[in-house]
């Protein structure tokens, strides 16, 4: 027997990195939202590495922030270290990464959520979805509470039929010994979901007091830290360093000798693991001639002595982990506080979803985060945000949001998932983006603030600040395009000082800025800007002028892509009725049900001839209509 526990617009199952963004976005759009989690003390818990951001992922955090999300704000308030990576390269690949304070992050995130209007937080284990006639209407918890809603979002991460494996020990569990969610997974199977088994892992944590840091290299944060959120104004001053050490021949020998005991190699693990985050035993086996691997020692927070041993993810038995650790310089006396483990879990085959993250076969049901076969907090947050926006849209009959591949890394991520699926836990990489020069860290606000504002996720104050920034950038670009710089002894002396070839002819300031050795600071000095501009405006001006040629090239490619992207496929299309399309392509098209010809062309197994025929078929409908008139 169940009891009626209440009505909502949107229910979010899970409070991980996808769940919190989903709940936040949904509530901010005005939907009455319920967030159900197994454990209210574990909101936005980081079961793996204590860091947020990095290449591609860091840009996602910026994008989430530009759309009113929480991740950027919360990490900016709680980080222990901030570093801008790839500073020696171009603007497209600059990436911010923070070392997180895990307990503080949880605390801060929980508090943020508790203060959002329209949002209810409740502890509970969902066992079953209420689905009637292909429409999801609510959920039932193990305590027999029935909650009703117009949309439901599942963000259960690695909890679904989770199984932890350490050596030959294996037991049912979510990450970090939390309860696994078994019944919900079974329920999804009953509802006809296609599930896959994935695997991921985490390294041991050791006690900081037992580490000899003198044998390691210090890795400090940036002196002038940048931040994820466009709203953050205050930097954290007392940053904490990480430390770098290396494995050695001895470590590798220990792994070799005990390989048979590794769950990965004994055949105990059936799930597919990620190639980009291999276990240490994988690294040693696959790259046997490498004499050493990097190990980063990363604090898990300010108020804890636990140190995360980055690079040593493993499913070897605990005693081997201990032996292995102790072969590493600085860790000779290290005491393990928690052992590393592998975890297997069920994931939803993501081609079952629309690009809105709604399940194709069950209206009103959305899935987001690691359950969709991704890995990483940032990937989860990006999906959670989109699912939250669209679940609320569904409930409130408001505008939905699908970001395309030229708008955001989030767009690339979701398009990849729903169009191609994935056969390993999916991680964003800069190389997955065709237009990464357009998807920069610095211009996430330029790309998305407008959308965020329109959807009610961004405050008026912030929007006005954004508009002002935009105007300043355009004005300054115009000024530099107009202003001529004439050669003079004084100028050429300045140019000589920075190693630039002297100026012979008068030059537009903008053209001078395009030279590799000239930066905005120099131009600012020699052109006397009317008033000092904010740093982010200067940055925009410099990047937009300096890389104009490449940016234009990317824009042209985007225009080309948009032509097929804007060619929509009618939702009642009957692929079986189309003669010329190859059988394999037909099956794929029927499964993926692409929304546009562009999306169809990205499905593997659908070749250009099939696309041509599809186009003809779609046009045929139009021709028929014209003829009828």
């Amino acid at each position: 027997m169940t009891y009626d526990a209440g009505n909502f617009d949107v229910i979010v199952i899970g409070a991980g990195h996808a769940g919190v963004e989903a709940a936040n976005a949904s509530a901010k759009r005005g939907a009455k939202t319920l967030m159900l989690t197994l454990n209210l003390d574990m909101i936005a818990f980081m079961p793996c590495n204590p860091s947020i951001g990095g290449p591609a992922k860091g840009v996602v955090v910026r994008e989430v922030d530009a759309l009113g999300g929480l991740m950027g704000k919360v990490i900016d308030k709680t980080y222990i270290q901030m570093r801008m990576l790839n500073t020696g390269k171009g603007p497209a690949v600059r990436a911010l990464r923070a070392q997180a304070d895990k307990p503080l992050y949880i605390q801060e995130m929980k508090q943020q959520l508790e203060n959002i209007d329209n949002l209810t937080l409740r502890q509970g284990m969902v066992e079953k979805l209420i689905v009637e006639d292909g429409v999801c209407k609510g959920v039932i918890t193990e305590t027999k509470a029935a909650y009703y809603a117009k949309s439901v979002i599942i963000t259960t991460g690695t909890f679904m039929r989770g199984r932890v494996i350490i050596g030959d020990l294996s037991y049912e569990s979510g990450p970090n010994n939390q309860r696994a969610s078994v019944k919900l997974s079974e329920n999804l199977e009953e509802l006809g979901f296609d599930l896959v088994r994935f695997k991921t892992g985490t390294p041991p944590r050791v006690n900081s007091h037992t580490i000899d840091y003198s044998k390691t290299e210090i890795q400090p944060g940036d002196e002038n830290p940048s931040h994820f959120s466009y709203e953050t104004v205050e930097a954290i001053v007392d940053q904490i360093p990480c430390w770098l050490t290396y494995t050695n021949e001895k470590t590798h020998q220990i792994i070799d000798d005990n390989l048979g005991l590794s769950a990965m190699y004994s055949g105990m693990i059936k799930g597919t693991g990620p190639r980009y985050c291999p276990s240490i035993e994988d690294k040693v086996v696959r790259f046997h001639d490498k004499p050493r691997h990097q190990i980063f020692l990363e604090p898990e927070g300010r108020n804890t002595e636990e140190i995360y041993v980055q690079g040593l993810s493993t499913s070897l038995p605990e005693f081997v982990q201990r032996e292995m650790l102790r072969s590493i310089p600085g860790l000779e006396e290290a005491e393990i506080m928690r052992a590393g483990y592998a975890i297997e879990y069920d994931a939803v085959v993501p081609t079952q979803l629309w690009p809105t993250l709604e399940v194709k076969n069950i209206a009103g049901l959305f899935t987001a985060g690691q359950i969709n076969g991704t890995s990483g907090y940032e990937e989860a947050a990006g999906q959670g945000l989109i699912a939250g926006i669209n679940a609320a849209a569904k409930a409130l009959n408001a505008e939905t949001l699908i970001l395309d591949r030229s708008q955001a890394y989030i767009g690339v991520l979701i398009d990849d998932l729903v169009t191609k699926g994935t056969n390993e836990p999916y991680r964003l990489l800069t190389s997955r983006a065709e237009y990464r020069l357009l998807l920069r860290h610095d211009n996430a606000d330029m790309r998305l603030t407008e959308i965020g504002y329109r959807l009610g996720l961004i405050s008026d104050k912030r929007y006005n600040e954004f508009i002002e920034k935009q105007e300043q950038v355009e004005k300054e670009k115009k000024r530099l395009a107009k202003q001529t710089i004439k050669p003079s002894d004084q100028l050429n002396q300045l140019m000589d000082n920075i190693g630039a070839t002297p100026l012979k002819e008068p030059n537009k300031a903008a053209d001078l800025l395009k030279r590799p050795e000239i930066n905005y600071v120099f131009i600012e000095k020699v052109t006397e800007a009317s008033m000092p501009l904010p740093a982010d405006v200067k940055e925009q001006v410099e990047i937009q002028i300096k890389y104009q040629g490449y940016i234009e090239k990317s824009n042209q490619q985007v225009d080309k892509m948009k032509k097929t992207e804007n060619k929509l496929i009618p939702d009642n299309i009957d692929y079986d009725a189309i003669g010329g399309i190859a059988t394999e392509a037909k099956q794929k098209l029927k499964k993926v049900r692409p929304l546009s010809v562009g999306q169809a062309s990205r499905i593997s197994g659908v070749n250009p001839a099939d696309i041509s025929i599809l186009l003809v078929y779609i046009e045929q409908g139009n021709v028929a209509r014209i003829n009828e008139i």
Partner: protein, 458 residues
Amino acid sequence: MEKDTIAAISTPLGEGAIAIVRLSGDEAVEIANRIFHGKDLMEADSHTIHYGKIIDPTTDQFIEEVMVSVMKAPKTFTRENVVEINCHGGLASVNRLLELALQMGARLAEPGEFTKRAFLNGRIDLSQAEAVMDLIRAKTDKAMDVAIKQLDGKLSKLIHQLRQELIETVAHVEVNIDYPEYDDVEEMSHDMMLIKTKQVYQEVERLLQMAKQGKILREGISTAIIGRPNVGKSSLMNALVHENKAIVTDIPGTTRDVIEEYVNIRGVPLRLVDTAGIRDTEDIVEKIGVERSRQVLKEADLILLVVNHNESLTEEDKKLFELVRDLEVIVLINKTDLPKKIDEEKVRQLANDQPIITTALIEEKGIDQLEQAIADTFFAGELESNDLTYVSNVRHIQLLKQAMDALDEAMTGMTDGMPIDLVQIDVTRAWQLLGEIIGDTVQDSLIDQLFSQFCLGK
């Protein structure tokens, strides 16, 4: 619908005396006008035909005399602007025309695309829809088939190799980007990348040069016959044409100076050309000057230099020998039926190591030896017909050119000091373009490369 302008050769290749290059799309007339000298086509009325010359606007080189039909939308086959350029069927000039149209902004039409456009623009009846789809399918499959067949194993292997070189470089840069703290992968420098890019660039360049060689076999070896008056040039021409049935004959007309005769010499297709009147003009040097004649002769793949057995060598003969030095030449000492007055030793000296054949063309003597010499010249060594690595498909050539441009842009970027991750965009593009030749454009293979090449952690 995409409104770009497409172009293709719309007559069967090498079969008719007339070939047509067809353009369709918004810019069809403009593109044709850029290469056409005669009436301003932009001003031309619809459904009119115009005589004129095709001239390469970048080099001002004369290509062909043509008739151009201008047909404006909507009363055309595709319901778009259509231009048809009619030219004499020599494969070389038709291909050249098509290439020019592509250079001027047209895109090579996909198989069946004219028909597809006709359909999409409502020109073809609805009931034909299924037929159109079948046609596209058939044409695409056939084109794939042909393309794959034309892609000989060696070429495909070579392109795989080049792509591998590029993708390793690209993966290396990607690793630097995605795993910035990963310290045992060397940071890819501009210099390293420049070396790699240059290597591939040169290989692609070489492939394109070989494409020209391949063209020789498909389009015939352009052959010029030169010699003083009355040494027997006409007899030689007649003998070759007579002995070997001409494949295509263009009758010299009032509007054309160029005569082309195709003959098949033991499997070597010979195109006897009269470029700028070389064949008929005895006093070529005097007529157009030494430098210019040398330029003209350079364009020929083979030169048959005829001297008279019955006369001693003149200054003019020596000038001709001078003119063809370092070119592919076969020397004929003709008229052996008449008494010997020539100093053969001297001829040998002048000819360097080029083959010398003695003939009495009037009695049809020595023709066998000549034919053997021609066959030997082109089938000896690297031009062995079944051992060729050459690109012949126009689409492949286009893609190679585009890949070369992309690599060129990458190299410019590197010399300009652009950040490596930007330069790499162009390298990746070159990799994709090369992939299109062998039908492999899957983005995921980059990611596979990343993980197989490097051991990655953080």
